[in-house]
Symmetry: C2
Amino acid sequence: MAKTYAEMSKEELEQLYAQLDQEYKDAKGKGLALNMARGKPSPAQLDMGMGFLDAITSESDMHASDATDVRNYGVMDGLPEAKHLMADIMETLSSNVIVCGNASLNIMYDTFSRAFTHGLLGNTPWGKLDKVKFLCPAPGYDRHFAICEHFGIEMITVPMSPTGPDMDMVEKLVAEDEAIKGIWCVPKYSNPQGYTYSCETVRRFAALKPAAKDFRIFWDNAYAIHHLYDEESRQDRIPDIIAECKNAGNPDMVFEFASTSKVTFAGAGIAAIASSQANLDDMRKSMTVQTIGYDKINQLRHCRYFKDINGIKAHMKKHAALLRPKFEACERVLEKELNSTGIAEWTTPNGGYFISLDVMEGCAKRVVALCKDAGVTLTGAGATFPYKKDPKDSNIRIAPSYPTPDEMAQATDLLVLCVKLAAVEKLLNK
Amino acid sequence: MAKTYAEMSKEELEQLYAQLDQEYKDAKGKGLALNMARGKPSPAQLDMGMGFLDAITSESDMHASDATDVRNYGVMDGLPEAKHLMADIMETLSSNVIVCGNASLNIMYDTFSRAFTHGLLGNTPWGKLDKVKFLCPAPGYDRHFAICEHFGIEMITVPMSPTGPDMDMVEKLVAEDEAIKGIWCVPKYSNPQGYTYSCETVRRFAALKPAAKDFRIFWDNAYAIHHLYDEESRQDRIPDIIAECKNAGNPDMVFEFASTSKVTFAGAGIAAIASSQANLDDMRKSMTVQTIGYDKINQLRHCRYFKDINGIKAHMKKHAALLRPKFEACERVLEKELNSTGIAEWTTPNGGYFISLDVMEGCAKRVVALCKDAGVTLTGAGATFPYKKDPKDSNIRIAPSYPTPDEMAQATDLLVLCVKLAAVEKLLNK
């Protein structure tokens, strides 16, 4: 068995460094230009979904199931069939759902904004409080953290594990500190690890006893149906958090979000929020001032194209068929090149859009910079932590979706080279 | 010449009352069921625009003029051609424009919300101030007033005239009171009168000298291209407020809004904001946290269908051809039945979606109630004033767009009957 880098002598490391440095110089000469920075669908995925655009034409009946003319004003909170479809994606009841515009991020932002200006369920608006804090399981999604930062919310990092956030810490903190008003969660195929919360984690969330009456779990179920494998045994599942919270006596404690951004077209999908009746009614009070209604034609376009959740699931298998080879290409290279080195760990998710790679402490920024100089753009190191500060400078998010499988293999070849080079540099104090 | 109601003797009025009361009882028996409450396009207008839905199909090239793949993430502030189209509607430069989602109301709300949580151009967030006031020309648009009310902003009513708001009052108030942070304007074909601000009014707006550094004109150009007549002499025009403010040394003083809600489909249009570079950059700082981007496919759908502003103008003539007969049917009945009575005044706009009717003081609520009891729903009396309180209880907004011309004539027949009945009741103290 090969030595790990830590076990190598200085001479062995120097020799390795010379070899890696040469390989890196060669790689730079190849003129790569690949972008793995964001979880963007690939052109092949987008081409695959073009039929969606023919679901509504000038010949279509433009009436929804409740006889609403979708071309006119009205229906603020979503067509019945759109609520049903989004509820099925989230595996909750359609009566818990409001369907909004094209992006769940916008609903999340608006929910924060509303909490700041008007407060939640009659509680003091967050904007009137001296201090508002949020728990942020990390590594996590940079755009969640950006919302907190934008509103001046103090973020408290909570460590992540393969079964979800450190629940002992979550339970203790929310029970002790009334200033903690919420927590960000990506419960299934988490961004960036692809972890799925265990049933126990979900139930402990539902049973939280927060000091703040207006504490809310922001449950971003972004990858609810984004499996990479067709076998049910490799499709992760989580309980319905809305039902769990209700059963635990905390019906108003959660806002759940989902969208079809990575189902139909990014930016031209539909997005939804699910919560208790009290929370939805509270939200409707603001919505009725904010909008006459969202794009019902696009809601109907989704319902006509997919018919029902089975249509969506069949469609998601086509996405999976395009995504899977890229994840596997990446994982193969990581396994082959880094497995015996002792300098990196990574996840092998069953779904979602990302692989999380932990390199040697203090090396993530260097790896990202080395990759960038050789033509491969990764998500900025640190982006997966609050304030963009990874305390160990170790985590890198890999987004395999956009490149082709060949490009993905090439990009990962470069990535592992940079991971090794940065580690040897570090060990040699170069 | 017939006597006005005020000139009639008690006996004449009693006789008239008996006759009107009988007519009203007969009218109630007809079982009318018409809704003129909101400015909704009619089914005929919606049918006329169905071709729009074929502008993007599975066969379409999905790239914008700058090669953006509109099916993927990105382009937060609008496609170049969509900016151009919306700029042409507002008769301003496309560099002044950000294109957003499906509704300008939502942009207005978000602009308020941002001012409350983050402040405008570095000024104190409105939410941190003890008092925020807004000028509200009235009669005006109820949804504007609803935004102010929702955010706890004190509304100050400014009288409207055929050339716009009382500018002497506006100039005086904004110069004196730093708590006044803005004014609502519908500068062309105003809601509900259909008045268009004179050039002098627009220039006086641009030259305002407000005490508040973050005073903003909310210029809701909702009916920019919504003419009722094809003759240019009957098409109202206003100067570009963005350019006027810049020339007057107040480049950051205005936010302009427009949408295609009443061009293509209500709720499935695109909406835009126009302002100075400083204001747009300020807005982008929040937008980049709030959204990855709006629906670019729908933006492209608009650009492909209309080609350019001339395509839109041709389309608006078709809308006008459907709307004009309804406005004229209404105006004919008002003229014939009320002209010599001295109990009502009304507007005869060249565009927009409304006619404003002022009935005898103290009678508007009664007229709306009488109409409702006989099957014709009007916008609630008072809705056109801040806090829904019309100090004279006189103004009624007529929305002729939704009914057919025949229905419109029938509805106006009932309306004038109720206007007369309420007036006689009032004069007789019944």
